[in-house]
């Protein structure tokens, strides 16, 4: 009797094995060098390396808001890309003679139109300026 554990789900088994091996590799290496390597702390050695300058303050400071804007814009586009995968597979396997073919094509045009509107708005707002 062949194992029927959740149809294709059993195929993810090797990925778990791989994950286990990768985690073991990472942990073992870090622990090994912590155990084997020497440990000689010092006060000057402990300061952050900022090109030889004595560090002024910490790095826990406010930073440019541009990075937040990039992250938010990325979210919009990335979610769209993920939505498009099912569409791409369905659209290319659909019968060209059926009415759904043009419906699916129209859908992508409309979906992309919303993207373009968002993109143009962002562009006009200067979101994609990085200088």
């Amino acid at each position: 009797m062949t194992s029927t554990l959740g149809l294709e789900l059993i195929n993810y088994g090797p990925v778990l094995l791989l994950l286990l091996m990768a985690v073991t590799f990472a942990l073992a290496n870090v622990v090994a060098s912590l155990v084997i390597g020497p440990s000689r702390p010092g006060s000057v050695k402990g300061t952050s390396y900022e090109s030889g300058m004595v560090p002024i303050g910490t790095a826990r400071k406010r930073f440019n808001v541009r990075f937040y804007i990039i992250a938010m814009t990325f979210l919009v586009f990335d979610v769209e890309v993920i939505f498009l995968y099912p569409w791409a597979v369905t659209y290319s396997n659909i019968n060209p003679d059926s009415a759904y073919h043009s419906v699916f094509w129209g859908r992508i045009l409309f979906f992309m139109l919303t993207t373009v509107v968002a993109y143009v708005y962002g562009y006009r707002k200067g979101v994609f300026r990085f200088d």
Partner: protein, 455 residues
């Protein structure tokens, strides 16, 4: 006991092959990283008219082995082994002002996705497995299996998910270091990586649309059957964009802004030493291998070579699988060497240029390409020639149009000289942005609004 064995066995052929491939390939990738470091140093040396490492052999400093090899250096091949051993023996120092847990977690979070990203790659096509029967019990049932760690139909979504995970390692590494250089490097790395994920996903979509499937093995078969050309021929623009994205995802030159030595010392791994640094280093090379493997899979026909018997999808023997594996890995090595040539020939892009290239050029181009390919499919004129034409036309249009894009000029700025922070004696002090809406709609006469006289 019997019932437990009955419940487990026989296991399916795909699971059996997947476990074997997973165990073999993870070691192969780790070993390849070592060789790649040597390659990189040799190639950079030849490009810069040096010799590169040529002394370190495999004698490990032992007199017996030294006598055996008679001082033979193995062309410096032992260099990576020596480097690896050195990483373990050096002090793994953590500066006291860093975040204790995140500082150790970051390199692991960086290396783990890099080591599992290639799980969905079908290295050797399909292999036919005979049932394995030992002592009257069938342990592995017969059938067809894909020579890859995981034969899942959503391979590329797995790739996108895992590639996105490695951003955490860099961001956390930069933040936990409590160093301004590291912090900036981590921010730049994460911003760059997430930006280049979008055109990467769109370029994969173009291929998915052409092939009609997201299964990695099915995409290789689509490049062999049907139109019968590799997708680099049908979609040169998509291939170019995807390759640039894999370079950016792996933080390779010319997109390695996160760790540019002249500005940010080492970027997010400035504070790291010993093995924790080595894990970041390893993750970078593993990403290069994964990215190249996906490029080969999507655009270079995977294991397929035209006109070579034994490398076609119909060949499912063990020998054919090994041969396909070799061809696939050979193509991956070719792409990696290409990436190394690029690293040592093309200068690094500035950070704003890199982001501009992504957001102003690559994303609109890939969206346009996707819509164009969908339209070509709708008009039922999808042939290789039309795809090539669409790609070339879009490339030309991009080259003509992008320099003419108007610069968005919404955020008006007050020039520093002459403002109230840096007044010029005898000049009026400007407090409002020049050309702002407030000023142009103001009922006050033009010359006096927004300007107060210096005291």
């Amino acid at each position: 006991m019997e019932s437990i064995l009955d419940a487990i066995f026989p296991i399916g052929p795909q699971f059996f092959v997947g476990v074997i491939v997973a165990v073999i390939v993870i070691h192969l990738v780790l070993a390849t990283v070592g060789i790649l470091v040597y390659f990189e140093r040799k190639i950079s040396a030849y490009i810069q008219d040096r010799i590169g490492p040529n002394r370190v052999g495999f004698d490990l400093g032992l007199p017996l082995l030294q006598k055996l090899f008679r001082g033979f250096g193995f062309w410096g091949l032992g260099q990576s082994l020596a480097d690896g051993l050195k990483f373990i023996l050096k002090e793994d120092y953590r500066p006291p002002q860093t975040d204790k847990i995140l500082f150790s977690l970051a390199p692991m979070l960086s290396v783990i996705p890099a080591l599992i990203g290639w799980a969905v790659i079908p290295w050797g096509g399909v292999i036919a497995i005979d049932p394995i029967v030992i002592g009257g019990r069938e342990f592995v049932s017969g059938g067809d299996a894909v020579v890859g760690a995981a034969a899942v139909d959503i391979g590329f979504i797995f790739l996108l998910a895992v590639a996105a995970l490695s951003v955490y390692g860099m961001t956390l590494g930069g933040w936990a270091s409590n160093n301004k250089y590291s912090f900036l490097g981590g921010l730049r790395a994460s911003a760059g990586m997430i930006s280049y994920e979008i055109p990467m996903g769109l370029c994969i979509l173009v291929v998915v649309l052409t092939a009609g499937t997201v299964g990695p093995n099915a995409i290789v078969e689509a490049q062999v059957a049907g139109s019968g050309v590799w997708f680099i021929v049908a979609h040169p623009l998509a291939a170019l964009l995807f390759y640039a994205c894999t370079l950016a995802e792996g933080n390779r030159a010319p997109f390695d802004n996160a760790e540019c030595e002249q500005e940010l010392v080492g970027g997010w791994h400035t504070e790291y030493s010993s093995m924790r640094f080595a894990l970041f280093f390893l993750a970078e090379y593993a990403h290069l291998i994964t990215g190249s493997a996906f490029f080969v899979l999507l655009f270079l026909g995977g294991y397929h070579l035209p006109f070579v018997p034994g490398l076609q999808p119909e060949d499912t023997g063990l020998l054919a699988a090994l041969l396909k594996f070799t061809v696939f890995f050979g193509k991956v090595i070719f792409m990696i060497v290409l990436a190394m040539f690029i690293r040592w020939t093309i200068p690094r892009l500035r950070y704003d240029q890199m982001m501009k290239l992504c957001w102003n050029a690559m994303i609109p181009l890939s969206i346009a390409l996707l819509v164009a390919v969908a339209t070509v499919k709708f008009l039922r004129i999808d042939s290789v020639v039309v795809f090539i034409l669409v790609n070339l036309v879009l490339t030309g249009a991009g080259m003509v149009l992008f320099p003419k894009l108007p610069v968005a000029n919404v955020n008006k700025r007050i020039p520093l000289a002459g403002s109230r922070f840096s007044p010029i004696p005898g000049h009026a002090v400007q407090t409002a942005p020049s050309g702002s809406i407030a000023r142009s709609e103001s009922p006050v006469p033009e010359h006096s609004s927004g300007i107060i006289s210096a005291h």
